[in-house]
Symmetry: D2
Subunit: 143 residues, 4 copies
Amino acid sequence: MAEREALYTRRIFYYETDNMGIVHHSNYIRIMEEARMDYMRSLGYEYTEMEAKGIIMPVTSVSAKYITPLRFDDTIHVRTRLTAFNGVRASFSYTIYREGDEKPCATGESGHCFLDTDTRVPVNLKRKYPEFYERAVKIQEKE
Amino acid sequence: MAEREALYTRRIFYYETDNMGIVHHSNYIRIMEEARMDYMRSLGYEYTEMEAKGIIMPVTSVSAKYITPLRFDDTIHVRTRLTAFNGVRASFSYTIYREGDEKPCATGESGHCFLDTDTRVPVNLKRKYPEFYERAVKIQEKE
Amino acid sequence: MAEREALYTRRIFYYETDNMGIVHHSNYIRIMEEARMDYMRSLGYEYTEMEAKGIIMPVTSVSAKYITPLRFDDTIHVRTRLTAFNGVRASFSYTIYREGDEKPCATGESGHCFLDTDTRVPVNLKRKYPEFYERAVKIQEKE
Amino acid sequence: MAEREALYTRRIFYYETDNMGIVHHSNYIRIMEEARMDYMRSLGYEYTEMEAKGIIMPVTSVSAKYITPLRFDDTIHVRTRLTAFNGVRASFSYTIYREGDEKPCATGESGHCFLDTDTRVPVNLKRKYPEFYERAVKIQEKE
């Protein structure tokens, strides 16, 4: 459980707000990325290490549902989970909470593939990055 | 047909790219917003007029699928459609093409509600903004 | 000293990088804002309180010098100082360090005025927000 | 004259606004980049060609003065000039006008150097990109 879930916390920046006085919806997609990187770090696999091995993990799909708006200076907590992983593709889910609230203010999902940095051809982490593969399969299977 | 579809065109900015050398996935969500505003304008209803009437149209959901990456200076064309509208909620879909390509490089959808700017309570455009309502229903129905 | 200087620390996000593989120069301006808000908070005056009093503090000028580039996942420390304040205008300076480096990787400055949120007319904090005024004058004078 | 000055025009996007209801100051820095790229294009030298030759032109300094705020949907015109160029460094200045206004709403400047993309070592365009050098010197000298 501790392995599968991680809480990423920070405050909302002023430049993330828009003319409606709330956080612009595109910034939740960025916050999800921050939380994903933090989650990978908490598993012991920094994304920088993956790129150092010549592998990139681009986003193939993304979605978000906005429930209650966030405002400047709100403190948020993001719960990230690896919901699917097979060495070729990965999916993450995100639940964003505003500090003090019980219900999430937003939820989201992202899909990813793994590519060779130079050729941009898909790679299978089972062969190209087995340490990461083993760990990710285990985390994902436990669900 | 002319009413329901609009092409929004611009070049990709340098600051929209990321460390992978491609447009960051969050920026497609912003491009979809640009295209939506442009689409509303092409229908004769600027979003600024809606806000001037004390109505905001926040995003309640968003999704995107990334097919082929965009790079700096690419020219893109976005086709926007109003896929659902009932005066209380609206949905738009987006197809993004890179100039010269036949197949889309990305697709997306967004869901919206209509709120009173001051109270943030949902409003029905049928009563609050009938000119817009009539037009939007007609456009959406024709599909 | 402790009052006049504050260190704001965070990691660089992936979406802050660009096609050159470094943090896009516009994002330093945003990081300076984050550091300024954090600095005000450390002085006991949250920017949200200022806006709750009907005062906004827009930016009237900004400048930055880029010395060595920042990359994804770098940890940065920002030292912020209030370099001038007279109740009507304020200036801040920023020095950004990459963790592990002795020399700064960037420096910057920002100028601000204080406006009534509704009328957008300049206000003097000496009258409109004396608690903040007294504190800020003291911090600035000590330099 | 026609060579030295170029007008870059576009509308303000919704996501460029902030909680104050105006364009966030960091976005002017991005708009200046858009105008600079457009200016280079108007001179017949696309920035993509420069990068294709293995040269990048990072920003070494930036500054902006904010005179009157911009809002969503405003149309802006940016006048860009190459104010200094010696093959090793270049400086640009920008004047941003809101459509309908006589006086500028903001001004700015940016400084740049030229680096080899791979080694990140400074290069002199006089040797590495003579076509561009000749053209730029001429434009800058005429001032």
